[in-house]
């Protein structure tokens, strides 16, 4: 046996994991791994990494692509007025840059609870709304436990509002870090699988008006009730979101004892 032929390189270990080796080298690598635990551990680690990456991002490919990727629409716009489209894109970048810059310097000075809660809530929404297997820590059928646990951690009595009457089922909830500490996060789902989330943490903000913030695809309503700030997040459909925010607001308001009462 010629030992030199049997030496397995780092590149070959990678190629083995990725199924890129010809059959004869595959046999050699397998024999090598049986006697080289360090390299066998690498193979296991590389496979584990691949699994983590697929588990984290694989589900994106099962989402229905948003309407803006409709090729006919993209083509129509292209054949229409290219100059106008280019001008619009340039303008959007310039305006976006200026607004981004200005908004940033203002917010850097003093980020309000509105800004911080809304940004965090939208991040959490985007993160968990695509989650198929583990969208929540405690499921909606354990509502009393969920409410009790999150009230304790957030440090203020709170309950997941009942939104069944407007067709939203409570999927469940989880605990998240937020701008002011522990934050409760509830997820709701329509019968067709559309998801909305309610994010809730302590605030000293006393401005109770309902505020709307919108991004490209997601949007949020923010309001304050007592010492808690709430952010309802969902797809950017203002009327639908407003209806849910109102229902949640009224449900919570109905159950909150008046302050100092």
């Amino acid at each position: 046996m010629n030992d030199r032929d049997q030496i397995v390189s780092e590149d070959e270990i990678n190629a083995y994991v990725d199924g890129e080796l010809p059959a004869d080298r595959r046999t050699v690598v397998e024999a090598w791994l049986a006697t080289h635990p360090d390299d066998a551990a690498k193979v296991a680690a590389w496979r584990k990494q691949a699994e983590l990456i697929r588990a984290r991002y694989g589900a994106v490919a099962h989402e229905t692509p948003p309407q803006r990727f409709n090729l006919n629409r993209l083509t129509r716009r292209r054949s229409g007025a290219i100059v106008a489209a280019v001008a619009a894109i340039v303008a959007a970048f310039v305006i976006g840059g200026v607004v981004g810059w200005t908004a940033r310097s203002v917010e850097a000075a003093r980020p309000s609870d509105l800004t911080r809660f809304t940004a965090d809530a939208l991040d959490a929404y985007r993160l968990y709304v695509v989650e198929v297997r583990h969208p929540v820590e405690v499921t909606g059928d354990q509502r009393p436990h969920l409410d009790e646990w999150l009230s304790k951690r957030v440090g203020s009595p709170l309950r997941a509002p009942e939104l069944d009457k407007i067709g939203l089922k409570l999927v469940g909830g989880r605990l998240l870090p937020g701008p002011t500490g522990a934050t409760a996060f509830f997820m709701y789902e329509t019968p067709s699988g559309e998801r909305f989330t309610l994010y809730c943490g302590r605030t000293s903000d006393r401005d109770t008006a309902l505020r709307y913030t919108t991004g490209e695809q997601n949007a949020a309503y923010y309001w304050v009730d007592g010492d808690l700030a709430y952010v309802l997040s969902g797809p950017a459909e203002r009327d639908k979101l407003r209806e849910i925010a109102r229902a949640a607001y009224e449900e919570i308001d109905r159950r909150t004892p008046p302050l100092g009462g």
Partner: protein
């Protein structure tokens, strides 16, 4: 719908997945995908057969590289990082992988994702990245050992906190 359009259309879900992992930000990712589609449609007359899918990955990879260059010239926009950290944070199962990807050089990240997430062969990745296969292999090797170092390095830190 032309065959060309059909090929682009079926590639969209995978492009979104790749872009999401590449940028770790849903909106940025979809912006890049849209830009990729617009460019592909505009360049239809330049495309003479071949692998539409690999070509789309090439456009997307280049657009993202351009985006990062622009970002690095404008440090004021780097707070996007905050969002990324949040995105990678509390996910069970994939808890640290997003942040581990964050630590990689762009070419390493793209090589690794094209192979393990998108299932491209080394040869296809070499074409997408416009480098020899040997370079793809060393990018993969470096990406993997760096992720391992990052993931392994997390544990002692956690133990100390406790």
């Amino acid at each position: 719908m032309s065959e060309f359009h059909e090929q682009i259309k079926v590639a969209i879900p995978a492009l979104r997945r790749y872009a999401r992992a590449l940028t770790r930000d849903a909106e940025t990712a979809d912006d890049i995908v849209q830009d990729t589609l617009v460019r592909a449609l505009r360049s239809e007359h330049l495309f003479h057969g071949g692998d539409t899918r690999a070509w789309l990955y090439t456009i997307l990879t280049n657009l993202n590289r351009n985006r990062l260059r622009t970002l690095s010239r404008r440090p004021v926009l780097t707070p996007i990082k905050d969002g990324d950290a949040a995105t990678g944070a509390p996910e069970s199962g994939g808890r640290d992988i997003a942040r581990a990807l964050d630590e990689l050089a762009e070419d390493q990240r793209s090589a690794l994702l094209l192979v393990v997430l998108e299932g491209l062969t080394y040869r296809e990745v070499a074409e997408v990245q416009c480098v020899p296969i040997g370079t793809v292999m060393s990018r993969l090797a470096r990406a993997r050992s760096q992720i391992k170092t990052y993931l392994d390095g997390e544990r002692p830190t956690l133990r100390r906190v406790k």
